[in-house]
Amino acid sequence: MTQQIVHSRLAGREAAAGETPPDVRFIRVPSIAERKLGPDYTAPMRLDPRVLDKMQTTIRKLESKYGEALSAQVSMLQLLVEPAAKGDTEARGRLYALAHDMRGLAGTFGFPVAGRFANSLCIYLEKCLEEDWRDGSVIRLHIDAIREAVDNPGTDPALTMETLNALERLIAANGARWKDAG
């Protein structure tokens, strides 16, 4: 199987005044399935529910282990706040890395609310300034919310949303100050 190539000068990088637009080629490469299976491949590829079942079983098996790990990670977050506020850069790095992991994994393993609070914490940490680290109050509020979500997963969703919205408003309120600081 070969690539199909069509030459064009209509697309691609924007040309500056007086500059000739670069040549653009449009290329069609056969799909990976076509390349791997040759004539044995018949499109469109069909999803196999048994594969999805197996993947979901895999997640369920990992879920209980993750629940224990998550609880330990939240305890670690609580321990890291103080050294992070005192300027310990390693503690700050570990705190962000833990929150980043929770953002990525908690939702997959049945802790969606903890994942959302972790996501909010990551957004805050990605923007906050030295003074925010030193103050630490918004970070603590996030960690308390994560702890609550992990320990009491059945909390009223309306209350959870209210807490999440309040944290998001707190972050938004800092936006102008962060912008001024460049």
């Binding site: 290329i27 993947m55 990992l62 790990a69």
Partner: protein, 166 residues
């Protein structure tokens, strides 16, 4: 008799070599376990974008699944380098790159598309999301544009993130 569409199952996936570029050990474990349960035959792990780039050049994976935020080189920079035209004649520059990210903003998705990302998966990851993204990546013909500076999916196409980010 009309041939049945090919099934996206272990018989096919065992032929695949997938490179996972991810710095979180927990996420590495999750992705490895999910790919194994699909039946993927060859799973390679790189811990950041720079190592991912080296593995891409040396191992010629069929698909790359990468995290967005990593240090010292993130998934976006790795993708940009892979899509740099003419830089990888001996590798597989047409490789689909699936990015997994916690950043749901339109500007984040657009930036990833502009670097040459094929598909954008929002955290939290689900089994269904990963399976469907991989099947889409392997079963669709690859339409690329090539300029003197770039070879990859069209930076002008519409790219929507998979998942809700919640």
């Amino acid at each position: 008799m009309t041939a049945q569409p090919t099934k996206a199952g272990p018989d096919f996936f065992r032929r695949l070599r997938v490179l996972v570029v991810e710095d979180s050990p927990e996420m590495q474990r999750l992705l490895t376990a999910l790919l194994e349960s699909m039946g993927v035959g060859d799973i390679l792990i790189a811990h950041d974008g720079a190592r991912g780039l080296a593995a891409f050049a040396a191992e010629r994976p069929d698909i790359i699944i990468t995290d967005g935020a990593m240090t010292p080189m993130d998934g976006l920079e790795m993708t940009r380098r892979i899509r740099a035209s003419g830089a990888w004649d001996d590798a597989n520059p047409d490789v689909p790159i699936l990015m997994i990210s916690g950043h749901a903003g339109r500007e984040n998705v657009t930036h990833a598309r502009d670097q040459g990302v094929t598909d954008y998966l929002l955290k939290p990851l689900s089994a269904e999301m990963l399976y469907e993204a991989i099947v889409a990546a392997v079963s669709r013909p690859i339409h690329f544009v090539e300029t003197p500076f770039y070879r990859g999916p069209s930076p002008r196409r519409r790219l929507d993130a998979r998942g809700t980010g919640e």
